[in-house]
Amino acid sequence: MKVVIENVSKKFKRPDVGEIQILDNINFTIEEGEFVCLLGPSGCGKSTLLNIIAGLDFPDSGQVTVNGEPVKKPGADRVVIFQEAALFPWLTVLENVEFGLKMKHISKEERRSRVLDYIKMVHLGRFVNAYPHELSGGMKQRASIARALVMDPQMLLMDEPFGSLDAQTRNLLEVELQEIWSKTHKTIFFVTHNLREAVCLGDKVYLISARPGHIKSVYKIDASRPRKEGDPNLIYLQDKIMDCLREEIEKVVKQEIDLDYVLSKDGILCPVDRNLGSNI
């Protein structure tokens, strides 16, 4: 699936601060079968961009086309995996994973046979009949990956899917995801603010700047797969990207301080202790 993002801009209105430009003229192309990582500081609009590609949100200007067709609504051809697993708490793992197929009116027998393969693939075979609240965070996330994969989408949109997991589980799932990708060659758009993860997974890493977000630089990663943790090529790249990323993170910090300053001039965020001391 080829995705073209053309001149996409997005503003959000907020009652207190007014309009803020989140995305500023974003342009890039995701090729069929490519594993693309989007890296950027917190709050720069990564999730917003992913939602726009998914069809869950819409740009103010510009457009996203999928295989030449403009995106108008969400579709089962591009399934989103959210940061929180977003499983349905009243359904078992099995029922959760077959949800998408049920929406497609696929018969129960066919559903069951397909679903079990994917549940085994994410190593949840012993938990088919467990409810989400009986699973650990990593298991939930694996179930939600199975739920997306079973629909056999052409593209996976992943929004910091491993963000809330511990380092071990995270590494394990990263390895599993690479395996899945090399087996199925789906197009993957992977959002993260973890540099190591982006370099370890992506064919390409797009670096998005602090607000207003625009694509600051692109890194092509040729290292062979499966990629190993301490690969010197990757570490070299990581350092290179880090310099660029650090600038953006500093900008974010500055933006926050500026905001406080403006607010305190209006007397809204005036530090309390100043008033406490003034009458002594």
Partner: protein
């Protein structure tokens, strides 16, 4: 259990101190006798059956209409902005205040009381169903959309099951309110039922009968809640992962 024994002991003690004359404040023993008498001559049984019939009819109608209207309010803005605010207004009126109107509309019979029960339970069902629909986590709706679910499927397979815990809590609350509405209605305007037997006791100056009926009312209320509604609510909340063991 210990608590009940203590309660009865205090009751006996107050009786022994003669704060009130015996006919106004009967002893636990004489009330027990009155209870046994009442069940032997079938007065209480007939009253219980009459009351339960009314509450079941009123409650079931309230359940069906309440869930339906609640779903509509939760789903469609137009209904919410019109009927929704009207219903919140209605809720401010204690349902027993409708009795005079109900008597005029339905006459002095079962229907008037059933109407009071229906109002007591129905409004709560509407409000808790509506709250359930509005409280569906947006992330679940977005997850369903991205898996290609259309509006109808989202409503049936996400919104409806996601609001079940809220609906079930509403059912429990609605039953308690229906029970109150029922007894109040029967006290004031009925010639059968537990409320009426209680009022008859008062009119004949038989406090043993009054207290007997009060005990029956409390027991039925406690039993239905404890054996049925509380269990159902807990099971649902556990299955939905809302309760930690």
């Amino acid at each position: 259990m210990v608590f009940f024994v203590l309660l009865i002991a205090i009751w006996e003690a107050i009786y022994r101190f003669h704060f009130w004359p015996g006919f106004l404040f009967p002893s636990p023993f004489s009330v027990t006798l009155a209870l046994i008498d009442g069940f032997n001559d079938k007065t209480f049984l007939i009253a219980i059956i009459a009351s339960l019939r009314r509450i079941l009819i009123g409650y079931l109608i309230a359940l069906m209409l309440g869930v339906m209207i609640g779903l509509l309010l939760g789903k469609y803005k137009i209904f919410d902005e019109t009927i929704g605010s009207f219903i919140v207004g209605l809720q401010a009126i204690p349902s027993i205040a409708w009795l005079p109107l109900a008597l005029l509309w339905f006459g002095l019979n079962d229907k008037a009381i059933i109407f009071i029960v229906f109002l007591s339970a129905g409004l709560i069902m509407i409000i808790s169903t509506d709250a359930g629909v509005k409280g569906v986590p947006p992330i679940l709706l977005r997850a369903a959309k991205t898996m290609g679910a259309n509006d109808m499927q989202i409503f049936k397979d996400v919104v409806l099951p996601a609001s079940i815990p809220s609906i079930v809590s509403g059912m429990r609350l609605a039953w308690a309110f229906a029970w109150r509405g029922l007894v109040a209605g029967e006290l004031l305007a009925s010639n059968t039922g537990l409320g009426q037997v209680l009022m008859m006791g008062r009119n004949m100056g038989d406090m043993r009968q009054v207290i007997s009926v009060m005990i029956i009312i409390a027991m039925i209320g406690l039993l239905t809640d404890g054996l049925f509604f509380k269990k159902m609510e807990r099971n649902i909340r556990r299955k939905w992962g809302l309760e930690s063991r």
